[in-house]
Subunit: 432 residues, 2 copies
């Protein structure tokens, strides 16, 4: 397969005719496919059917301390749920507060609290002229959404294969007191599926930020979301809580997890782990915001999964459903785009996304082209703050929701769209 | 029975000796009773056992629009839950957003959002020098807790038998632009069990506040929490949403409800009703804060209760448990304190509390005295902002949690404590 860039104008025109014909044929089918969001499929959700009835009688509703989970009380979560979520993060249950059904809400509330009340006695961010966050890019659109909503200035930091550009990051954090935080998805990152190297995690923990209230927002969303059962095919990352502790900066990090992609995306439980001082601040806030989160659902989770071993076994059932989907998409990409020089992509070992980088200036047009043929993808630019991908190159592929058959069709439409837009670009821009 | 105030010093000393002896006897029993919080009893929680298994298979998890409640999506709540919660407030489902397990959280987040983002385009409260709230007193401690946490200056407005002092309230709201809200529990109020009269609700809806972003926080916590089945024994209040609409001020009110005291105190669902403009603002905020609340629990509620009729029937089972408790406490108060002139109390027709007013300067001492004998009551002062009851007079009694037998013992200790402290006061202060 010769790269498009090496072909003559005439050769490209011939290819374009073939590709356009295939695209029109696909478009004619009036398909409706969606690979835009990281939603679990019905088959995955069905795996947790037993959780629905894990507490089924009045006598089932008591936690290990004898607290009636149906009543008020237990604001930081029931002990067995704190242990389970702590085990997912490899931290002690004393360092964990279990919350409602969305870790996104804990992150949002943490930012909100920093604005209204400040962080550990520091000036509330609402009283500052400027608050900035570092955003490894490409990244998770809902993270960027929170900081945008609060008027935080977001600074792009490029992602490399071992994590964010640490040289740049260290320089910025050390020099600029208005930089108050960083969004991280350290394992099987959204959208690239990258896991931070040991060195990256250590350097993050060793940061000496100019701002005393600088915080690492460690969204460990995919901590147990492997695609492969073999240990050597599973990514491992260092424990940031431990590393920050060792580095003498235990307050610098909040870690977030949830079971949204373990049990139910809309009915899971979430948790935050952090230092004693940070947790005290979180608890104080929660004491005004809520009497207790839904402890019946916390208990339902523990009764169903039992322990970390149970969760891990459950995740292997997810992997059996997810793995073929990832592999199918990547195999279509390799077969259809391999060697053409018009795009590159990742093959993650876990998480929920495949990241595709098109020729610069092509992402928006490719997503539009796919949409015309009935395939909804994540909006181009969504993986960047302010929805502005400076290269207009990155596209997030979320293979989880469709069936394998639908996914194959979707992948075909996608590669046709990539080819068409890339051909147009090459034909317009001239050649060597 | 002659009032204590009419007795001679010698007569009082004789009574004191008798009361002190009874008190010491009770204290000697080493009791441990708690009537401090409005917690449902186990018997009440047991009534909703069927809800635990109301959705029990994968096929059960779909809402009326075909949305899989286990997955993401449906951020404003599933339609059938919006209808049910709307029916509880007698508003259309279009005016309702269903949230998580605590209406307190919706209130907190509403105040928080007003601070960070302002209300419908007005200056964020965090940018103002002074923000004030009106607090009908006595009132709900957790309301006052929220505004205190945000540094809001709270102004007491006395409660009369028909609701807050409307003359004072109208004057303050009209004159002072820094007054941004008022906390109301309009039906079976916490702690007095007072329901606002038609005139009170109409005058509230007709308010012309100096502040454009003044809002009524209408916590209709006890909207269907009657103690009696007979309609003539049930309080009715006007629909504030309708009244504000008629008055041309649809944006002036947020109404909150929950099923915390219908299904499970720690595992219910909550909702907010408001105008189109306010709901748009709430939805925009939620769009960043959460992908969706726990829709499986929303569905569980609708499957179990079916409709408003089902909820009302269920509440009559609660009433059958609660009514004797209220009546028992009031009967002890009447029998032991009636005519003594050392306290007055309410006998509400619904809600969760009985409010007791002791002689000025006695509440704190009475609560301490009760505690010495093993009875935990709501802290004196808790029903006032900053925990400061200017008269040191009001005590909240929460009869729901203990059994009838425990409650009888608790009431006995309480009246002994009231008598002892009142006698001391009278003996110290001299007589007519």
């Amino acid at each position: 397969m010769r790269a498009y860039g090496e072909l003559t104008r005439e050769e490209l025109l011939v290819i374009k005719q073939q590709v356009a014909a295939s695209y029109e044929k696909a478009r004619g089918k009036g398909l409706q496919l969606d690979i835009s969001r990281g939603k679990p499929s019905k088959t995955q959700l069905d795996l947790a059917e037993g959780m629905l009835t894990a507490i089924s009688s009045n006598e089932d509703c008591v936690d290990m301390d004898g607290l009636d989970c149906r009543n008020y009380g237990g604001s930081i979560g029931i002990p067995e749920a704190r242990r389970l979520m702590g085990d997912m993060m490899a931290v002690s249950m004393d360092q964990v507060v279990v919350c409602g059904n969305a870790s996104l809400t804990i992150m949002f509330d943490t930012v909100s609290r920093s604005f209204t009340h400040g962080v550990l006695g520091n000036t509330p961010w609402s009283k500052l002229n400027k608050v900035k966050f570092l955003c490894p890019v490409p990244g998770y659109d809902r993270h960027f959404g929170i900081t945008e909503y609060f008027g935080v200035e977001m600074i792009n930091v490029p992602m490399f294969t071992a994590g964010p550009d640490m040289d740049l990051l260290e320089k910025l954090v050390t020099e600029d007191e208005s930089i108050k935080g960083i969004w991280c998805v350290p394992k099987y990152s959204n959208p690239q599926g990258i896991s931070y190297s040991k060195e990256t995690v250590r350097r993050l923990a060793l940061l000496k930020p100019a701002a005393k209230d600088f915080r690492i927002f460690w969204d460990n969303a995919y901590c147990i979301h492997h695609l492969y059962e073999e240990e050597e095919k599973q990514d491992r990352i260092l424990n940031i809580i431990e590393e920050c502790d060792k580095a003498g900066s235990p307050d610098m990090v909040y870690e977030f997890v949830s079971t949204s992609k373990v049990s139910f995306a809309g009915g899971g439980i979430s948790a935050v782990a952090s230092s004693k001082a940070n947790l005290e601040e979180i608890k104080r806030h929660m004491n005004y915001q809520i009497i207790s989160h839904d402890k019946t659902n916390q208990l339902r989770h523990v009764k169903f999964f039992r322990d970390l071993k149970g969760v891990k076994a459950h995740m292997m059932k997810h992997a059996a459903i997810m793995r073929p989907k990832f592999e199918r998409v990547v195999s279509v990409l390799e077969k259809e785009l391999g060697g053409l020089g018009i795009g590159s992509w990742t093959m993650p070992k876990g998480g929920y996304f495949i990241s595709f980088d098109a020729l610069p200036g092509c992402a928006r047009a490719i997503v539009a082209k796919a949409k015309e043929a009935g395939l909804v993808m994540t909006g181009a630019g969504a993986t960047y703050p302010y929805r502005k991908d400076p290269e207009d190159s990155n596209i997030r592929i979320a293979p989880s929701f469709p069936t394998l058959e639908e996914l194959e069709v979707a992948a075909d439409i996608f590669v046709l769209s990539v080819k068409l837009v890339s051909l147009d670009k090459l034909l317009k821009n001239g050649f060597n």
